[in-house]
Symmetry: C2
Subunit: 337 residues, 2 copies
């Protein structure tokens, strides 16, 4: 039933109308060669009159280049990813590349076929390091330039850009330690390796002092999940002095539900997260968070990708240094005040 699109005028139509060859039109359009004023005028007129514009797909077929780069995000509703996209978009623009975004959320277990199809429509791809191994390998086999985000490359084939997760956990841990917190709960995201990294860093910060840790497991990186876990985290057993969510969304959900449960933050329990999303700052209490430099990660990734595409790759992985943003949600615990 699907009707093919109406096909517009082609370069041949323009050439005929301007009484020149297609080669001339092509060269004129790309600016790669100048012609006599008269010829140029004729071409311009023909283009104008026919309302012709270059077919980028045909062009890509001939040149092997598309001018597009793709970025596949795990969930477009997560501010962390939209910030990354923002950074990547800026860098893409500078590089004269066109960014197209694909959301992998709806297409659970992003099918290999979809990814491959995307891969062949772009000059390069920015994808999560968390992507299933076989997919990364398929991309590599196809020769697609790829830059990974969110963690080191599981294989040495690819470049990656990420924000130091261990360090992030550690600086948050140091802050909490200084403030006198000793009974810590962490909400982890088992499917993401970086969650574990953050957790390790967090614990390491308490080396040498007596501290107790409890871990809870989230099934999705959303505010809803934070809300869902809140009662379990706050009310089962002894209340922790501080709860750290593996990201801000979890922490925001926790904050809201704590309020609903009548648990006061930070008076009774402190809360912190990662990503430093815009909404954490606006909360009351405002949310302490480790800035994972989402936007810069996106920007760096695109920079590297553009480098690969241009044949001037920068090598080695780049690991950004996260930055702690202390706000109200981690004021010193009651006992210390």
């Amino acid at each position: 039933m699907t009707m093919p699109r109406k096909r517009g005028p082609t370069i041949r139509d323009v050439a005929k109308a301007a009484a020149v060859s297609t080669a001339t039109v092509s060269k004129f359009m790309s600016g790669s060669q100048r012609f006599s004023a008269e010829v140029e005028a004729r071409i311009a007129a023909a283009v104008q009159q026919l309302g012709w514009s270059l077919n980028p797909m045909a062009r890509s077929m001939a040149t092997g280049l598309t001018g597009n780069v793709g970025m596949v995000v795990l969930d477009i509703c997560n501010p962390h990813f939209t910030s990354m996209v923002k950074g990547a978009a800026r860098a893409a623009k500078v590089a004269g590349l066109n960014l197209i975004v694909a959301d992998a959320a709806e297409t659970q277990a992003p099918e290999l076929a979809v990814l491959q199809a995307l891969a062949r429509r772009v000059d390069g791809l920015i994808v999560s390091a968390r992507l299933p191994r076989p997919m990364l390998e398929a991309l590599f086999a196809a020769g697609t330039p790829v830059v990974l985000y969110g963690g080191p490359s599981p294989q040495p084939n690819y470049q990656s850009v990420s924000c130091d997760n261990f360090l992030a956990g550690r600086i948050l841990g140091m802050h909490l330690r200084e403030r006198g917190f000793r009974r810590i709960s962490y909400i982890a995201f088992p499917v993401a390796p970086w969650s574990e990294e953050r957790w390790r860093g967090l614990q390491q910060a308490f080396d040498g002092v007596e501290a107790s840790f409890t871990v809870f497991h989230a099934t999705s990186p959303t505010t809803e999940e934070g809300e869902r876990l809140a009662s379990q985290v706050l009310l089962s057993g002894e209340m922790p002095e501080v709860v750290v969510g593996f990201n801000d969304l979890i922490a925001l959900g926790l904050l809201a539900e704590a309020r609903a449960l009548g648990v006061s933050v930070p008076a009774q329990v402190a809360v912190a997260g990662f990503d430093n999303t815009a909404y954490g700052r606006l909360q009351s209490p405002s949310l302490t968070s480790v800035d994972m430099l989402s936007e810069q990660v996106g920007e760096q990734a695109m920079l590297r990708l553009a480098g690969i595409i241009a044949g001037t790759p920068v090598d080695g992985d780049s690991v950004l240094r996260s930055r702690l943003v202390v706000r109200e949600s981690t004021a010193a615990p009651q006992a210390m005040v």
Copy 2:
């Protein structure tokens, strides 16, 4: 300097390896025809061995169909748009279409050329009704199937999906009127026609009662702008009884800055917004908002687009009915309590 991508094996290589013709391979791959078991096995083996996969661009050139649809959003960091994308992605998947998202934010004044290039890489487009007129016309001239979101089509050419903005303003207005608010300030977004619609609806709800209105103008639809305007809105002249932001981001910024200014919400001033974004619910006080059904708008738009592409268009515009979500930020004003 830019190196063309390494070119992989082609259908001809596969045909040769399997000792069949390219036509046979093509038909086998598309499943449009069956062959003898032996031939099929040979093809499958060849495909496997060469690691060949169809080149979607070449296929598109031949068929005139891409299987992709594009959606251009005004700012990917705005939850309203990400929700729309989510809805659209779901519908696209059902329709067997592939959604690619383009962010128009970085590319200020989305250049015509960029849009045209995108248009020719997809089977259809979902774009904002706020897009400059010449662009819409260019798309129309090119015969691109298009569905508009966010408002009625400025010309009768296109279908559109939106959420009734006048109604949205009105139901919020009715709510505020019932609660006894009479001194209303509205933060408008002059560049968007729907902001004006909401404002008209809001005012109309107060027909017949004495009420005073003040309008402020925002330059961007962000929380930062809400924060920036807060002191002006709250502290210049007599404080309004309620401030309505043209969207939730503005309202969230306002909420945060009111707190910073020591203005208590809703005790001293009520606040409301539009879009019912996820973060409004989590605030304290939680934000009253009109749900503009972002996700459904995206879904409907995609449904319609898929219809057009499939040659079974649904006609007429679709206008969804917004829904009021009353929360803490619009508790009755002091005077009434």
